[in-house]
């Protein structure tokens, strides 16, 4: 009780700090210089309609690479963490009742749609809200659906890892190519910007988006798979 009160007190003080921040906060009325730069240069420098994606993949591309790496790491570590309590092949999932007809059939119907949606979101990241992460997540939701429909199902490990690795390598490779042939690491002008607003435009953004999407999808799938393959699953 004292402990909780103490925690409460501390959080109160922390909250008062936050309150100070809030009270002192005045929403900006103008874009600050960074944002203004992005807003004005998104078109000619990046050629992406979606400024967020433009920032995400080009100007802050290194963050995005890091972000992908976070997922990569998580996938790798989750598989390391859980590898020790991995169930023998075929043993996991056997404890569950088979999924119902509805789920199985629904899965079969939905999967292509999900994949399509994922691909669309990925490819159109530079034009509309969305992008590699979102697309990858949608793809992974497909994988989740499959697992729900058939708990004893196994994905091809190799394929997932290959996809993951290859897309990651390609991402890094693109970045390096940017250093060689354009203005720097992950420079967007490696490819021509194309027509503003078209699908194949905005330099390498669509490619990177797709790579990210594939990688994120693969990583999520890999995490799900690791979780699924434990003894208790």
């Amino acid at each position: 009780m004292i402990r909780n009160a103490l925690i409460g007190l501390m959080l109160f003080i922390l909250g008062s700090a936050f309150l100070t921040l809030t009270m002192g906060f005045e929403p900006a009325t103008e874009l600050n210089r960074t944002a203004a730069y992005y807003a004005t240069h998104a078109q000619e420098e990046v050629g992406a309609q979606n400024v967020v994606t433009a920032v995400l993949i080009t100007w802050r591309g290194l963050d995005t690479l890091g972000e992908v790496t976070v997922l990569f790491l998580t996938a790798a570590i989750v598989s390391l963490v859980l590898s020790r309590s991995k169930a023998p092949k075929g043993a996991s999932g056997s404890g569950f009742l088979p999924s119902g007809e509805l789920l199985t059939t629904g899965t079969k119907m939905l999967l292509p749609l999900i994949a399509l949606l994922g691909a669309y979101v990925m490819a159109n990241g530079h034009l509309t809200p969305g992008g590699g992460f979102q697309g990858g997540a949608i793809l992974a939701s497909g994988a989740l659906l499959m697992l729900l429909a058939d708990p004893s199902r196994r994905f091809g490990h190799k394929i997932i890892h290959r996809v993951e690795s290859a897309s990651g390598l390609a991402f890094v490779g693109l970045g390096l190519l940017g250093m060689l042939f354009a203005g720097g690491f992950l420079d967007n002008k490696l490819l021509p910007l194309g027509q503003f607003g078209a699908l194949f435009s905005a330099g390498i953004i669509p490619i990177v988006s797709v790579l990210i999407g594939l990688k994120v999808g693969a990583e999520f799938a890999s995490i799900l798979e690791s979780l699924e393959e434990t003894e208790d699953a």
């Binding site: 995400l56 963050d63 570590i77 979780l227």
Partner: protein, 118 residues
């Protein structure tokens, strides 16, 4: 408006922290942290919010020329994207650990894992 969402965000953070610090169950702690993460994300987005403006997409509604005057700050959105993904990664990792810890002791009470101390 911005203040309100900020306050909500901060409240979420504090609630999450309170939950994480008072619940001894590991899963509840993880959930609490997720709440706190969400709060952080709310805070991030709120800071970028500007009244009477639109999303930073330069489509027909917002011509590139007027962008600076019409769109809200895209940067917090970028950041929140990244933050979400990272938060997700950490949560997944914590869950995996939680599972392993559960396998170790058959319990999810964090006070069971005090072999290392002093």
């Amino acid at each position: 408006m911005a203040q309100v969402s900020l306050l909500i965000g901060f409240t979420l953070i504090l609630l999450g922290l309170y939950g994480a610090l008072t619940n001894r169950d590991i899963l509840r702690m993880i959930v609490s942290f997720t709440i706190a993460d969400a709060g952080v994300n709310v805070v991030l987005v709120s800071v970028g919010y500007m009244a009477h403006r639109t999303a930073p997409i330069l489509d027909s509604a917002v011509p590139a020329g007027q962008a600076a005057a019409r769109i809200i700050d895209p940067v917090p959105q970028v950041l929140v994207l990244t933050a979400i993904v990272i938060g997700l990664g950490v949560t997944a990792l914590m869950l995996a650990y939680a599972y392993r810890l559960f396998r170790l002791r058959g319990s999810l009470d964090i006070s069971q894992f005090m072999d290392l101390k002093w």
